[in-house]
């Protein structure tokens, strides 16, 4: 395990979180009591960040096993949130059970055994065709297309896309052997950092709403500031990767742009379904998908960028 880089990451992330907690603590200390809800929420969010960073760090030390299990659990939580929001009928019971009981374990088993060929087509080909067939065999045709489409979306987003994060461990980049965990760290820090940076730039300089119908808080200033800053962050983190600083900035830019689009699509789904959050798993943030939406869109594109240009 590349201990030197891991140590730098842990020290860096701890420093960022301590700074955030200190700032929020000072703001809370100076604010009128009882605390306004935005500050309570900020404190909850920062506390949840501590827990999330800790969870990923622990999984990190368990290497390939830890990462595969962690992301299988993330898929479970995300799929549960997704399916909860969709229209299901009693006749969907077995298909839904199969999504949790067969598709998640099998997809992550494919990741674990590095069976690339089947990993890329298992869900988009076999599940895509067999799931609606099972639904049709049940004979319940009410809102059929809507139901099967939502099921497809649910597994594509929450299982297929998410599984591309641990799949980074299966890539064989020449001269980078044994260090693939750092690629996961790079992706997560860049994408989640970009979410935070877009939020900060949006709060500081946001004037022009980007898509008020979809999201009340996404602004052009936030997007541009966040993307530039996270590309710089990517360049700064190039020591984790097989990329040069310039390449790292470019890859981070693409991943963070995809992450932004992921957040936008997730917001549109929430709007359509009339809910505020995907769920209530992470205190202050909402559900797993509220936090993972950007990673979901970024992971497959990042995976294939690295696979195409570096292996």
């Amino acid at each position: 395990m590349p201990m030197r880089e891991i140590l730098i990451l842990i020290v860096g992330l701890t420093a960022v979180l301590i700074t955030a907690s200190l700032v929020a603590g000072i703001l809370s200390w100076r604010a009128p009591k009882p605390l306004p809800s935005t500050l309570i929420n900020l404190n909850q969010r920062i506390n949840a960040w501590w827990v999330m960073v800790l969870a990923i760090t622990v999984a990190f030390f368990f290497g390939r096993h830890g990462m595969t299990i962690l992301f299988a659990l993330i898929s479970f939580a995300a799929l549960r949130e997704f399916v909860t929001l969709t229209h299901t009928r009693r006749s969907d019971h077995w298909v839904l059970l199969g999504m949790f009981g067969i598709i998640i374990p099998f997809q992550y088993w494919l990741v674990w055994t590095a069976w690339y060929g089947l990993f890329t087509i298992f869900i988009p080909v076999y599940c895509f065709l067999l799931m609606p067939a099972i639904t049709a065999l049940h004979g319940d045709t009410e809102r059929f297309l809507e139901r099967v489409s939502a099921q497809q979306w649910a597994v594509m987003i929450s299982v297929y896309c998410v599984s591309h994060v641990p799949a980074l461990l299966t890539l064989e980049v020449p001269g980078f052997e044994g260090r693939n965990l750092l690629l996961i760290a790079f992706l997560i820090i860049a994408v989640q950092g970009s979410d935070v940076l877009q939020y900060i730039f949006g709060k500081l300089f946001g004037r022009h709403l980007m898509s008020p119908k979809v999201s009340p808080s996404k602004t052009w200033e936030g997007l541009i500031g966040g993307l530039v800053a996270s590309s710089l962050l990517g360049a700064l983190l190039s020591f984790l990767t097989p990329f040069s600083p310039l390449q790292a900035a470019g890859v981070a830019f693409i991943a963070c742009l995809m992450g932004f689009l992921g957040g936008l699509v997730a917001s549109a789904i929430k709007r359509d379904q009339g809910v505020k959050d995907w769920g209530h798993l992470i205190e202050g943030h909402g559900g797993m998908m509220d936090r993972a939406d950007s990673l979901v869109f970024a992971a497959p594109v990042f995976f294939h960028t690295v696979r195409y240009f570096w292996t």
Partner: protein, 235 residues
């Protein structure tokens, strides 16, 4: 009903209760939403919508351990008393109160059985629809038990509890639950108004429970409770 005098939890019941609550959380991530009432030591009758065997497990998983230990679900004797296994599950594991929906013998009078449990200081979970709702209606008309109980013991709080999604997690006739998120919304207590008729009260209780549903099934987002709507996307 031989065990009326000894309604403290046995070892088996405690283990079952902790185990089922943990399972309910793992499968449904269940979370209570106290919307008008708060957890308290007061004796209560929780009344809820009913579509699945999992309903009462979900509801009790939302209660504190102390409250859970003194809260008993009321279940139908003609279903749960049918075989020795069912009776064992209902009484020895889940410590439910079994009542007969059709009764002739005065000793089987469901109201007196429930009142005797209340008089021992316990809380009850009742499903006033009287059966699992398998229709497309969100809630069936209420049967009279709730009114009779409240007339007889006006000091016991009636708490409406909307159980979300459980009918999708474990539909009738299925035994393996699908993991879906569930919430239980606890509303403000209701009481019989002075001079209120039986039917009027039961309908009002039903409306109160319906109004707690955070996402009514009508595909009409505008009508949904605004508390649960505003979209957020901050990191």
């Amino acid at each position: 009903m031989s065990k009326l005098g000894t309604r403290t939890f046995t070892m088996l019941q405690t283990v079952t209760s902790v185990g089922l609550s943990a399972l309910a959380w793992a499968v449904t991530g269940v979370r209570p939403i106290w919307n008008g009432s708060q957890p308290s030591d007061r004796q209560r009758i929780y009344f809820a919508n009913h579509a699945s065997h999992g309903d009462f497990i979900l509801l009790s998983a939302c209660l504190s351990e102390k409250e859970r230990a003194r809260t008993h679900a009321v279940a139908a004797a003609d279903y749960w008393g049918k075989s020795r296994l069912r009776r064992f599950i209902a009484q020895d594991m889940l410590s439910s109160v079994l009542i007969h929906r059709q009764w002739t013998d005065e000793a089987q009078n469901p109201i007196s059985i429930m009142l005797s449990v209340l008089d021992e200081g316990h809380s009850l979970i009742v499903f006033p629809e009287g059966t699992r709702n398998m229709t497309d209606q969100p809630l069936l008309p209420f049967r009279s038990g709730l009114y009779n109980l409240s007339m007889a013991r006006p000091d016991v709080e009636l708490i409406p509890c909307w159980i979300e999604n459980m009918s999708r997690v474990l539909p009738k006739g299925q035994f393996v639950p699908v993991p879906l998120l569930c919430r239980v919304v606890f509303g403000a207590p209701i009481a019989i108004a002075p001079g209120e008729e039986r039917r009027a009260f039961l309908d009002r209780a039903r409306e109160t429970l319906l109004a707690l549903n955070p996402r009514p099934p009508a595909h009409d987002a505008e009508k949904w409770n605004p508390v649960f709507r505003k979209t957020s996307c901050d990191p």
